[in-house]
Symmetry: C4
Subunit: 258 residues, 4 copies
């Protein structure tokens, strides 16, 4: 039985999942910073959330209690299992949509961090038949395509649009497949990556790509010269190690340094 | 005779309406905060206003004297009756358009708070035949439709566009009907809700929905996948209890905390 | 001979125009504030200028030396005659385009204040055949039309686009006619009013009207329900006395109070 | 042999290029300021760079080590030769795309400063067949045309979009030719000038021109009245000596003075 599955099954057997060894302090601090950066850069407002897979236990992940991302502190970070149960809520309110995170961490062992938001420029793409594609190298990670999750297919007409249970989370994870980004029709998007800094980078440039692609489609009357698949793969590989440069700036700005 | 009608009739019999028991201090403080939030979030500029129904006397409501919303303090809040007379003006200038508020509170007992603004992204919708519809769950309250108030129908050609008397107020209230939002052609909009926090939430997401719907209509060449009626009802019901999360953030930002 | 013409003729007879009685201190201070407001509200950047007719001598006007508006102080305000000569330059550099102001003050005795800027949203209207028209009551002053000044007609092909002499100033004033705003093709616009506070108000809402009209034209596919002429006249008359409400807010924001 | 070629050949003969006489302290300080201005004005974000030709040795140029422009200090400025080798890196990371600078300084002796950025409004022009042209006098320097560099022509399909070697740098310089601006498809742009203040001015108004041209193309349905070639030449000549006025304001804002 592979390593990952053991704690997962354990968590599913017991109603109250066991708390893992405490997560790395630096990871928690970065998660707090990620919350603030996403607000400062206009990806989240009073809603939206970002999580990180637990560094010591891949069957657990870290996510704030239900609150505005811009106000999150280390004390607000809770630990969840891959069914979406909180280990240490102590009565604190949980995000209805924690199942976005639990389902994707379960389906995608490569994913270490997830952002869910109502990224404004992305909304029009989720609500139309227009595909989100990489208009420049900064958003090369979109080269793999950004599928649209239609909650009507998974939950029928009349849902409240929220991914509020494991079944809807699994349907979203299935839509996402192996991509970096999935759009959620009438709702927002979900962005994944193999690190917290990379997922923040991707969330910010997903927003910017949507804005710029929208402008290009209009002035170009629908004809836009996107990155080719090969360009997207090469550019994404180059960019990933450089995200620290942007993170340092965003952190300084979000945490009051500039 | 139902409870609501008694003070209403009383107020209409006397030229100088009696002052009700003082309103809850917390309500007045929230109304001050609402004024500042609406400015900080770009819904109002030097013009526009927000009111709350009096918590002790449903035939009265609270509204600032004529001034820029961003500068309102508790001392600037006046009390009005449902004909639009101020109880305690003491010579202070009144908004010409207080009749927006008085007429709607009279017609809609369910309404506890009202925002009137020149919300920028909404203006193009009031001036064209394009309907404002919910593009995502945050603005699900638009599911009931956002009728357009055409002042030319009520006041003829040549008004100064202001709802400056009870008759125009009643015409606007009739256009609004049971909806959460009415657009005012060549002017702005009016947003209502059953609480101050909810009306601020709705005013902010009405502005954002208009911006995003405009973008979607252009890139989608008019074809947009809006929330269905059933989705809108379900999502609006889910969102209403969550508005405090956004309010706390907006308040902190508007009042200088962040 | 009417009062206005005497000092005007006098100024034109002498090469070095006489300095008038000092202008009202409050007028100079408001002119400094106007410079800062126009920058804070995005009407001017490092370029653009605002002037006021001298309160004691209608044949003179006040305008800063050549500098960025946001940095203007009372010491930078110079006095000019209606030919565009500075009374008290003392070697300080002058705006090349002071003739915009001198020519309009000469042609329009009703005008007491003028803004010239590269107001961003207005540029597309000057460069296309699309008319700037009042989309809502805040910009009702556009009801009189906003003619376009084509410098190629006045100066031929190959000017540097600047209104850099009295003859070009007169051509611009002729284009303006009796309107409140004239667009300058490939350059910006000029806005006039009978007071400094009103001209600032008009400059800010000209920018906003252009932005919103552009959006409305796109979503409405060219069909927009503008204010009628009668609505525009009535609304402009209502708004003029209210501009102090917006001025107080803009001043506080621009001068560091908020 | 002309003066410029001697140190150039010398630099190419030796693996470790000799350090020139120290650059003027004021030039280095202006280069630091230029980095901060470009961030504050939205031309660069965490990525992008600006360089200046060495004032004592035209075969060398100054450019920061690999970092976010907004964080650059004088200590981060390195010296490079025209092959793109750093004289004094001491192990510090270099921008992959320093070859943009080295190749253009080599090809264009008139160029004294270069900005490379992902200037947001410019991206749609690089990705469509729509030409960037001067919509107003502030961007008259675009009158010479803004050619598009297609990296697929120079590097084939599958590059990571970066100008990461001398050969790609030379191809970019060839695309630029004698122009002030070249667009880079799927990437950004490069802007050149004969001084640091002028290149910053041009980079900022290139961004603004792209935004305004995009809007004009949409409302004008493709018909825009651009500056003629003669107007562009005359206006560019007038503007160049005035850039100090804007620089002073941008500097104050970027360095915390306003």
């Amino acid at each position: 039985m592979p390593k990952l599955v053991v704690p997962l099954v354990a968590a599913m057997l017991f109603a109250l999942p066991a708390r893992a060894e405490p997560a790395d302090r630096a990871l928690i601090e970065d998660l707090v910073v990620a919350n603030h950066i996403l607000y400062a850069e206009g990806v989240v407002d009073g809603f939206g959330h970002v999580s990180a897979r637990h560094d010591k236990d891949p069957s657990h992940f870290l996510l704030a209690r239900s609150m505005a991302p811009a106000l999150v502190t280390a004390e607000d970070i809770l630990e969840f299992d891959l069914v979406g149960n909180a280990v240490d809520a102590n009565g604190r309110a949980l995000y209805f949509e924690r199942f976005i995170h639990s389902a994707i961490y379960k389906a995608r062992p490569d994913v270490k961090a997830i952002v869910h938001s109502h990224s404004p420029s992305v909304i029009p793409f989720g609500a139309t038949a227009v595909a989100l594609r990489p208009i420049y190298h900064m958003s090369a990670f979109l080269g793999g395509g950004a599928p649209v999750f239609e909650i009507r297919d998974a939950g029928g007409d009349g849902t409240d649009m929220l991914v509020r249970n494991p079944q809807l989370g699994e349907a979203l994870a299935a839509s996402l497949g192996g991509a970096a980004v999935a759009l959620m029709r009438g709702h927002g998007d979900v962005v994944v990556a193999d690190s917290l800094k990379l997922v923040v980078f991707r969330a910010i440039y997903t927003e910017l790509n949507a804005k710029l692609e929208g402008e290009a489609l209009l002035i170009g009357q629908g004809r836009v010269n996107f990155l080719t698949d090969k360009e997207a793969v090469a550019a994404a590989a180059t960019n990933s190690p450089l995200v620290g440069r942007a993170w340092d700036l965003w952190k300084l700005k979000a945490m009051g340094g500039r």
